[in-house]
């Protein structure tokens, strides 16, 4: 990093991102490989499939990036996805939801996000107020969140036919999946929040040096709680999207292992695990890379299991490069 970093945060962020273009190079390599090797890669349908799948990872990864920026981690994202995803069909398929479809639809979008917000508050308060390590604090909901979702649905697969709700996962604007646009819009908002608001300044300050942020009078607790709440709500939204894509809610599988994908995407995108950096568009880049690696391997007949090993190696490489650069 040059001396630019201290003076002009936004420009420095851009410069920094260009300097740390490891992710972009990786993306380029994957794209070239796919164009040469994978059949039908340059096909709008391939693009649409990848966008619809990457959007949920990207949305959660952006929330994870905010949490990681505070020096924390959120393991409960997948469980929150399962919970909000289980709630939505329960609401619009209830007697009320059937009698008043419009109100039911609004409630089916609203209350799952409220549930997610409560989960975020729970995580945030345990981390910020009770000062429990984030891994352990979010472990509680990681374990019980999915359990609550399964208790609510009795472990049943809820299938439904509700075109309005499914628009969230299957709708298209200008030929691209709705959730892709949603992810981009969220990224723009979060980028503004991180770089231009007091909340964003403190978010990065806490990750940079929590005690300094506290001693300088920053609202450390509130900002931390805010990061966990945003992360949970984005996870809740992602849970709704997954349910909408499938026209079915399976509490056992919705968001399963999402915490790994989200952490991987955030780290590949340049988030420092020690905190202090919140590269929002980096998270999207990371999500795209993770998704494309998965797609490349599957499209070329490599087994799903080997794709897991590849993902493990990507995470290790990304963090190793990060560490090496720091030293």
């Amino acid at each position: 990093m040059t001396s630019l970093t201290t003076n002009e945060p936004i420009r420095a962020d851009l410069v920094g991102r260009l300097k740390n273009h490891g992710g972009l190079i990786a993306l380029g390599v994957i794209l070239v490989f796919n164009i040469l090797v994978t059949p039908n890669f340059l096909h709008t349908q391939t693009l649409a499939v990848n966008i619809s799948q990457v959007a949920t990872i990207a949305i959660v990864a952006m929330g994870m990036t905010l949490v990681i920026a505070t020096g924390g981690i959120d393991l409960s994202v997948g469980a929150v996805m399962a919970l909000s995803g289980a709630l939505a069909p329960l609401i619009f398929m209830s007697d009320f939801g059937v009698a008043y479809p419009v109100l039911g639809l609004i409630a089916a979008l609203f209350f799952p996000l409220v549930a997610a917000l409560i989960c975020g508050l729970f995580n945030g308060v345990i981390v910020a107020v009770l000062k429990v390590q984030p891994i352990i604090a979010t472990l509680i909901l990681f374990i019980s969140g999915r359990g609550i979702a399964q208790v609510l649905t009795n472990g049943n697969l809820q299938t439904f036919s509700n075109p309005e709700f499914s628009y969230l996962g299957t709708g298209k604007i200008l030929g691209f999946p709705f959730q892709g646009w949603l992810a981009v819009a969220i990224a723009c908002i979060l980028f503004w929040v991180v770089n231009r608001t007091v909340f964003g300044r403190y978010l990065l300050a806490i990750g940079g040096n929590e005690r300094a942020a506290k001693l300088s009078g920053g609202p450390v607790q509130r900002v931390k709680i805010g990061a966990y709440v945003i992360c949970s709500m984005l996870s809740g939204l992602a849970g709704l999207i997954v349910v909408a894509i499938n026209s079915a809610s399976d509490a056992a599988r919705n968001g399963n292992l999402m915490e790994l994908d989200a952490i991987a995407a955030a780290v590949v995108g340049g988030a420092l695990l020690q905190g202090g950096k919140a590269p929002i568009f980096g998270a999207i880049l990371g999500a795209v890379i993770i998704q494309l690696v998965k797609y490349t391997l599957l499209a070329n007949g490599v087994e799903d299991e080997v794709a897991l090993i590849a993902k493990a190696l990507i995470i290790l490489a990304a963090v190793y490069i990060q560490q090496a650069r720091k030293e």
């Binding site: 981690i73 891994i135 472990l139 509680i140 359990g147 472990g155 299991e305 080997v306 493990a312 290790l316």
Partner: protein, 333 residues
């Protein structure tokens, strides 16, 4: 065994009130179970309970050492699944071949973690997360995503299904030896002291000239080995290597260690209390099963996860008092 535990209680009563709390909770829960359910204290329930929980105790022990250094090992569940497949493939050669080699394969994963953490300076959380994915992928590849039946003709299944001298399940005997051995290592050897010192403050430990790297490599290798042992128990007790098992085991193990009063920041904790923590978590489910059997309530399996989480929450609330006291001491310095 009882005498040793009593000795430990006295030693830790001033240092770590939670270790005492976990023993009291365990005794209360056992008393509750014995008084309320007819067969709860019966030999069958005790032996099958301990036999089933042996693998969880094993991984909790390894996890305890890792957490004592201030680290974490998220790979134990996947590694156990991997070694259960290895053990199943090797089962025709008998337990004396299958067990050591399966444990060694677990140690290999642990060493990989250690190399990433100690030499590549990758945070434990990320390194073991990657190993978790890698081991899961590996076990699915070598098993073809199928459960691998063990060879029933060899003596392999005796380990998980038969009792030593017709009294105690073999798994319990092995875990018992492991508990005592690791307890001695932690409390009475320089290696154990170094493990505790690393968790107390790594930089200070390096400056004291203690072999920090050796201690860290040891704990991750141990954790991998314990996961390997759990995998052998799994394959032997259920008659098959199970590549899809082990999901969430790392969390159970972490919960056991935390419930046992070990501080997640490292430096403070005890082996017997970890065992008590593992037993306590297992016992909650045992009692739930009995309660379901009585018919008063009907808890689905899904409630177990909710209750497990609530339990962890309660313990964390309790532990924050201890931890906040410690952080106040740090601030005062």
């Amino acid at each position: 065994m009882l005498d040793q535990n009593a000795f430990d209680l006295r030693k830790y009563i001033s240092r770590n009130p939670q270790s005492v709390a976990v023993w009291i909770a365990l005794i209360v829960l056992i008393a509750f179970g014995v008084l309320r359910y007819e067969n709860f204290g019966g030999a069958y329930n005790i032996s099958s309970f301990l036999n089933y929980n042996a693998m969880f105790i094993a991984i909790s022990l390894g996890m305890c050492f890792v957490i004592l250094t201030g680290g974490i090992d998220l790979s134990v569940g996947s590694v156990a699944a991997f070694t259960s497949v290895i053990a199943a493939y090797l089962s025709p050669y008998g337990i004396e071949v299958a067990m050591p080699l399966a444990i060694l394969s677990g140690v290999a994963f642990g060493l990989f973690n250690a190399v990433c953490i100690v030499y590549l300076h990758i945070p434990p959380f990320i390194a073991t997360l990657a190993t978790m994915l890698g081991a899961k992928g590996g076990s699915l590849v070598i098993s073809g995503a199928q459960t691998i039946a063990v060879d029933w003709g060899s003596n392999f299944t005796q380990l998980g299904m038969e009792k030593a001298f017709g009294l105690v399940p073999w798994t319990i005997v092995i875990v018992g030896i492991l508990i005592v051995g690791l307890w001695i290592v932690l409390e009475m050897t320089s290696l154990g002291r170094t493990v505790l010192a690393v968790g107390g403050g790594e930089d200070a430990t390096v400056m004291m000239g203690l072999k920090v790297n050796r201690a860290k490599i040891f704990v991750y290798a141990l954790s991998g080995g314990c996961a390997g042992l759990a995998g052998v128990f799994l394959a032997s007790g259920f008659g098959a290597g199970q590549p899809l098992e082990g999901v969430g085991w790392e969390l159970s193990a972490i919960a056991s260690v935390v419930v046992g009063g070990t501080l997640l920041t490292g430096g403070l904790g005890s082996i017997p209390a970890t065992v008590a923590g593992a037993l306590l978590l297992g016992l909650v489910f045992n009692i739930l099963n009995f309660e379901n059997g009585k018919g008063w309530i009907s808890f689905s399996a899904y409630w177990q996860m909710v209750i497990r989480g609530a339990f962890l929450f309660a313990v964390i609330l309790f532990q924050t008092r201890v931890m906040n006291r410690q952080s106040k001491v740090e601030l005062a310095r």
